[in-house]
């Protein structure tokens, strides 16, 4: 249980696939025009990640090393097709607004990276948990970027108006340029937080050392 929570925390915060590892930029930029799209995209990718990690881990002893990337891609694209058909059947409006970015989950580098770096070397259960953690981390990043873009660029959050009628939305933020700018500022914020935390940890370590020296 403890390991499970630690894995989740690592995926969402410390090793966030988008904000820290800088993977999967295309969907992060493209599907964050509204919070609803971002959540849909994030969860779709999470489902694919959990199942592809699980199956790649189960098959890790049977996939020949030389052909592993091709093998991974076939497994991933199978699950992506399933998710696509399910979304088409049950969430049609979301399916339409995400459009081609659903099949493009196949080439999302986060999924291939987790398959290569984690699932192909670990047991099935931790691999599935890793998929869940990384997927939630990805969803969290999309949520962060889309919240900024929808509020500033459209004056709404999840479709609900926030500033009332008087607010003239900054259209730039829902345009492609706004995607790059918002993500740039969000990642700069993350780097700032990490730098501050590292600085604090270093100061802590120094203080510990001094007290140790003093006692000696």
């Amino acid at each position: 249980m403890k390991g499970f929570l630690r894995q989740l925390k690592e995926g969402i915060l410390d090793h966030n696939p988008t904000l820290v590892q800088l993977l999967g930029m295309c969907p992060t930029l493209a599907t964050t025009t509204s919070v609803k799209n971002a959540i849909g995209m994030g969860l779709a990718a999470t489902v694919v990640l959990i199942f592809s990690n699980l199956f790649i881990s189960l098959l890790r002893k049977f996939i020949p090393k030389e052909a592993r990337i091709a093998g991974f891609i076939v497994i991933i694209s199978g699950f992506v097709t399933m998710v696509e058909l399910l979304m088409k059947a049950f969430f049609y409006s979301l399916y339409q607004s995400l459009g081609i970015f659903i099949p493009l989950i196949v080439v999302n580098c986060i999924i291939l990276a987790r398959a290569e770096a984690y699932a192909s070397k670990n047991k099935p259960l931790p691999s599935a948990v890793d998929g869940l953690a990384m997927g939630l981390g990805f969803t969290f990043a999309l949520l962060l970027v889309s919240t900024v873009r929808e509020i500033v660029g459209n004056g709404t959050f999840l479709g609900v108006s926030i500033f009332g009628k008087g607010y003239a939305p900054a259209l730039l933020f829902v345009m492609p340029a706004g995607a790059f700018l918002t993500l740039g500022f969000v990642i700069a914020g993350v780097q700032k937080v990490r730098a501050v935390r590292e600085e604090r940890a270093r100061a802590q370590a120094r203080a510990n050392e001094e007290t140790k020296e003093a006692t000696v």
């Binding site: 930029l29 076939v74 199978g78 992506v80 493009l104 580098c109 492609p176 340029a177 700018l181 500022f185």
Partner: protein, 194 residues
Amino acid sequence: MSFSDILLLMFTAILVENFIFAKFYGCCPFLGVSDKPDTALGMGMAVTFVMTLSGAATYLVYHLLLVPFHLEYLKTVAFILVIAALVQFIEMFLKRFVPALYASLGIYLPLITTNCAVLSAALLAVQNDLNFIGSVAFGFSSALGFTLAIVVFAGVRARLQFAEPPRAFRGFPITLIAAGLLAMAFAGFSGVRL
């Protein structure tokens, strides 16, 4: 499709609906391999090569294999396999017959399989019901748009190396912001409806 249709399609794909700045297809290599203009050009050339051929190959696979057997829903799986095989094949072919080109493109080729620009060009060509010539022209011109974007951006990044942004912005964030400014310039084309 008449000749002028194809010209319009190409113009739209290169400038108006630029794969990077308007559609975000292929952002990973765009942000990853754009630190020097000549590597960016190498990547762009490799992508153009693959996308033109994959435009033809995926058209044939879709219309000769998937449609007759009513397997259209498998197109994502089929296309990614075709692209992976194509990339592998091109790599082997170049290594054997055009070693000079292989030496300059070699390292970028394996990366192209997971470049979403290639897959999305194939999927879009099917979605928009393009014919064979249209499909090839669309793949080729989308890739030219990608090359234009990545080479221009590499020029910007070369300058960026001498800039001194605030510490938190160093590295990736300032790169994204520069890309945002370039996207604004490309947004100027979006008014052009052909």
